[in-house]
Symmetry: C2
Subunit: 140 residues, 2 copies
């Protein structure tokens, strides 16, 4: 399980919704993990200019407006790439067979197109969209 992405969105919704700085311990309690895991993620978000530390107190504030912060940018901050990986490709096809000789670029090309569609959606979805969805749930 790699929950960095879902955890980062959780953290960002908390930071966006609270005008006061929130300590990593409090975030960790809400996420259901430990504070050092939260710090690992906030450190990546900070390096990418998505959040900044508060002066003097522990906690963070958003540097990007929620409706301008795409999930694609969040993903990219965490994984150092905005290329989503969906499918593994077998790496030892035989050169002796015409299909084996040409399969790798075909698969890589086809899979890239699928992944690009996922990336498009992530680019079009913002933190604000997530907050709106949560608002609907809270209000109901």
């Amino acid at each position: 399980m790699d929950t960095r992405f879902s955890t980062a969105i959780h953290i960002l919704i908390m930071i966006a919704g609270d005008p006061n700085p929130i300590a990593s311990e409090k975030i960790a309690e809400s996420v259901g993990t430990n504070a050092s895991y939260i710090r690992k993620i906030t450190s990546l978000l900070r390096k990418n200019g998505i959040i900044a530390s508060h002066q003097g107190v522990e906690g963070f504030r958003l540097l990007v407006k929620p409706d301008e912060l795409s999930l694609s940018r969040v993903y990219s901050a965490l994984y150092n790439t905005d290329e989503v990986h969906l499918f593994d490709i077998h790496q030892n096809p035989s050169d002796k067979c015409i299909v084996g000789r040409h399969i790798l670029p075909v698969l890589s090309d086809v899979f890239k197109e699928v992944e690009r569609r996922a990336e498009d959606e992530m680019r079009e979805t913002t933190l604000f969209d997530c907050m709106k969805k949560m608002r609907v749930l809270i209000d109901n």
Copy 2:
């Protein structure tokens, strides 16, 4: 590494391109794996009505035309679902925090939309598209 999907596409291109039945051993050699792994995958493709065994000789033939065989159907035959899984979600958010209490359906909803875009592309891409891409590579 889970290379079932890429291996299945490799197998289907071989079957589609050869009028003669091809034994699992020959396919395995081209893929760069063992025949029992190939049989595991062809068995799933067979159960789903994508390929059928040849009578009397070992080997398979396509039951679906390449331009009607979507990658989504192939995926679904292999994984028994056409829902692509992209991101894991942390499973123990705290009920005591308003964000923790509502985060799971928000994340699941947002991730579903991303995954749906990937699935759309897989539904629109056929085995024939893969074969065309390979043809271009072979001809160049």
